[in-house]
């Protein structure tokens, strides 16, 4: 009896203890980000590293797909040799990990991110580069455009994105071409030959050839398009200066893409391709980006719209399938109006967090990576081992820059915690590839307007909601225009799309964009 009672009490106590612990020790613990007045911040870090003394800094890379996860290989070793810094790298598993670290105050020394730049550009979380440069690296010079792009409302900048180049920088570097992410169309060489090699110098020429293909090879699809690269090539030819979800600038004011007067011509053109049977209706409903490749490499299509490396890529696949035909690129410029506006701001930036144990070594590390030597080492590999400098102004590679296994295993390119679009763009200069020629042609009509890239809606804002709704509506309505049964119907569908956008709040969005644009433009003066 007694035993039974004591058991009950023990059981009750045990259960109580366990239940309470299961609920989590809710001791009111909240994350305490390091205050800006902490010794960490005020002391200004440790003394610079003595030669032979290597400091280890922790780096978090906010990109789960990142192909390098360890600070090793010839490039990393050489950077450590030059800077006295080595990195302990953690690559994100998903996009929630960095927000969790920010919220809990558990930040590493350095963070490399593209999607959390606005969030980390905050004096509570990161050191501003202005103060670090002034204090520790006064000879670290960054150009005005980059500073303008990254300056926040508090007047400071906290990072500089890589993969960015200004108009002047690109103009001064003949062999810096940009990346694979540019539109291009490849056509079947053998069929062109059978058609008597008709010239293709304008869009009209191209459309004529598509007509000839349809007539002579009725079982063949004249033009197949990758699901993500349907409009870009033709938008560039019409000189719209923007894709369907961006802004274009005219006389100092910005307007939304679908209001661009040349847009109607573009839509009419696309609709005529459909009505003439040159493109397939189902092309607008393709679920994956392999189907168009199969049409092209399987010999079922004459022209293939994708990127500047379409011909090179298709030809590799055709060769491995023992095919007996090949593709060649169309010129990137098929019209006098052709124009491409680059409003990109770069890809990712490195932040020196308030938890950083050595801000001085960190900013000097960034300074080295930003030097000409550092940029080339990062992007091309070790000079003499991986490349030699050609006096023409470009590197001669001793490896194939498209060999991802070699590039990743040697840590080439991926330590570009600070770099620029010029150096990166030289990776594309491989004279024997068709892609190189296509990029050179595109470069001749490219204009840089980073200030347009700064028109970015903030999360959860009214403008963001309006823009998302308009973009979603355009995505659905554009297909109705492409597939309209007559040109009149296409024009009516286009006007209907504009009306829908007005009803959603296009004018309000445009007013906000102009206000933002004027403010951002000031930074560039």
């Amino acid at each position: 009896m007694n035993k039974s009672r004591s058991f009950k009490i023990v059981a009750a106590a045990l259960s109580m203890a366990v239940v309470l612990s299961a609920c989590g020790g809710n001791g009111g613990n909240t994350a305490q980000p390091a205050p800006s007045g902490s010794p960490d911040a005020a002391a200004g870090g440790n003394a610079p590293a003595k030669p032979g003394q290597v400091k280890e800094l922790s780096l978090f890379i906010d990109a789960s797909w990142y192909p390098v996860t360890e600070w090793k290989g010839p490039v990393a070793d050489m950077i450590t040799e030059k800077t006295g810094v080595k990195l302990k790298v953690t690559v994100a598993t998903d996009d929630k990990q960095l927000p969790l670290m920010i919220a809990s105050g558990d930040l590493p020394d350095l963070v490399f991110t593209s999607s959390n730049i606005d969030r980390l550009s905050d004096s509570k979380l990161s050191y501003s580069w202005n103060e670090l440069i002034e204090k520790y690296a006064p000879d670290f010079k960054i150009d005005k455009t980059r500073i303008a792009i990254h300056t926040m409302d508090d007047g400071k900048f906290y990072t500089v994105r890589n993969s960015f180049a200004t108009q002047e920088e690109m103009a001064n570097s003949k062999y810096s071409l940009g990346s694979d992410g540019n539109p291009g169309i490849a056509v079947r060489e053998d069929i062109l030959k059978e058609l008597g090699n008709p010239p293709i110098k304008t869009l009209d020429d191209f459309v004529k050839v598509l007509g000839m293909v349809k007539e002579k090879y009725p079982e063949m699809v004249p033009l197949i398009m990758d699901k993500d690269w349907i409009e870009q090539y033709f938008l560039a030819q019409f000189g719209t200066e923007t894709l369907l979800d961006g802004w274009y600038e005219q006389d100092g004011k910005v307007e939304y893409a679908i209001r661009q007067p040349k847009m109607l011509d573009f839509f009419k053109f696309m609709n005529s391709l459909y009505r003439n049977g040159y493109i397939l209706a189902e092309n607008f409903a393709l679920a994956n980006d392999q189907i168009d490749d199969q049409y092209a490499t399987g010999g079922k299509a004459f022209a293939h719209s994708h990127t500047v490396s379409t011909a090179d890529t298709d030809n590799i696949k055709i060769k491995s399938n023992q095919g007996n035909f090949s593709f060649k690129m169309l010129p990137s410029v098929l019209s006098k109006d052709a124009k491409v506006v680059s409003s990109g701001l770069g890809f990712s930036g490195t932040f020196i967090t308030k938890k950083n144990k050595d801000p001085e070594a960190s900013i000097k590390f960034m300074q080295y990576l930003a030097s000409d030597e550092g940029k080339k080492l990062t992007m091309f590999g070790v000079e003499g081992v991986h490349w030699t400098w050609n006096e023409e102004g470009h590197p001669d590679f001793k490896y194939n820059p498209s060999d991802a296994d070699f590039v990743n295993s040697n840590g080439i390119k991926w330590w570009y915690l600070y770099n620029d679009g010029v150096t990166e763009g030289m990776l594309s200069y491989v004279p024997e590839l068709q892609k190189t020629q296509a990029l050179m042609e595109l470069k001749s009509v490219r204009v840089y307007k980073p200030e347009i890239g700064l028109i970015q809606t903030q999360p959860d804002s009214q403008e963001k909601t309006i823009k998302t709704k308009i973009d979603e509506m355009v995505k659905n309505e554009k297909v109705k225009i492409y597939l309209a049964e007559s040109e009149e119907a296409a024009v009516a569908a286009y006007e209907n799309m504009l009306k829908n956008a007005e009803n959603i709040g296009l004018q309000k969005l445009t007013d906000w964009a102009n206000a933002t644009y004027q403010k951002k433009k000031e930074l560039f003066k």
Binding site: K3, S4, F7, K8, I9, V10, A11, A12, L14, S15, M16, V18, V19, L20, A22, C23, G24, G25, N26, G27, N29, T30, A31, S64, W65, Y66, P67, T69, T90, V91, T93, D94, K96, Q97, L100, A103, S104, D106, S179, D180, G181, Q290, Q294, H306, T307, S309, T310, D312, T313, I316, K317, S320, N400, S402, D403, A404, D405, V407, L433, K435
Partner: protein
């Protein structure tokens, strides 16, 4: 009369079997497809049309997948966490459930309210992370074990099971002089294999498949689990290579899709091996309390 009844039964049974067979196929085929795709050359799978068996048999996907020496270590960590996490989880859950299963327990309503509340509401990831940090569990093997030792869901299942055990069993053991611990370990647990096996299966699968704790709460490469490594492979296979690089690597045969299906197979196999041995208990255990009387 009897004959026509039998015919009816036969027809009815046949329809049931056909329907069940179709349902079985729809359940099994995705697994089968993943299996054959993992043994098929990746670049060939992209062309479509691989439905019944590998068209272009290769072990290359598995070779690339296992190329990293980290795999063995991750496998051992996963095995260790699954075994120890399951055993300790079973022990704690059954002890607590046994205590709470006494109908005359003081404040039992309060305990149950707290348990049910904890089952439906959680603080979310950030408070959880902060709690783990304040307990000093971050970046240690214990973070895999301690937080998951007590699951409210299993607790409720185990409580209802223990309540089904006749009180006379305990009473007669008491009369024979057995203490509470003896009764629990030597009488109650041996007759509770159905619920223990059920819990073991769920806990084991949960531990085996868990990657989030390895990603968020651990920084040491030594402590990474197999599931985390597989997430890493899947993530890396989404690297934005330029199309030329993709074409070059595809001609070597391995693609992101073939790597992903391979990682699926590797993660499913151990569970498939364990499942048949626990299934008979599992069916029994999960049905507990579903029938009164």
């Amino acid at each position: 009369m009897l004959k026509s009844q039998r015919q009816k039964d036969f027809v009815f049974d046949s329809v049931i079997y056909v329907v069940l067979f179709i349902i079985m196929l729809t359940m099994l085929y995705p697994f089968y497809y993943v299996l054959i795709a993992s043994f098929n050359k990746g670049s060939d799978s992209l062309l479509g049309g691989v439905y019944l068996w590998p068209r272009n048999f290769t072990l290359e996907n598995y070779r690339v997948f296992m190329d990293d020496p980290k795999w063995v270590k991750a496998f051992l960590v996963s095995v260790l966490r699954t075994v120890s996490g399951t055993l300790l989880g079973l022990l704690l859950t059954s002890i607590v459930a046994y205590g709470l299963s006494h109908r005359d327990l003081l404040f039992s309503k309060v305990y149950f309210t707290v348990i049910v509340f904890a089952m439906y509401f959680s603080g979310g990831l950030i408070p959880y992370y902060v709690v783990l940090r304040s307990l000093g569990l971050l970046n240690s093997f214990a973070v895999y074990i301690i937080p998951s030792m007590l699951s409210t869901f299993f607790l409720l299942i185990a409580i209802s099971f223990f309540r089904e055990i006749p009180a006379e069993l305990k009473e007669s053991a008491h009369i024979d002089g057995a203490g509470e611990l003896t009764i629990f370990f030597r009488i109650i647990l041996p007759v509770s294999t159905p619920v223990l096996a059920t819990m073991a299966l769920f806990m084991g699968v949960g531990q085996w498949n868990s990657w989030l704790d390895s990603a968020y709460f651990v920084q040491s490469e030594e402590l990474r689990t197999l599931a985390f490594r597989m997430m890493e492979v899947i993530n890396k296979s989404n690297s934005p290579m330029d199309s030329l690089a993709v074409a070059n690597s595809a001609s070597a045969g391995v693609t992101s899709f073939s790597l992903q299906v391979t990682s699926m197979v590797v993660s499913i196999v151990p569970i498939i091996c364990v499942y048949p041995f626990l299934q008979k208990y599992f069916v029994h255990g999960i049905m507990l309390g579903s029938v009164k009387g």
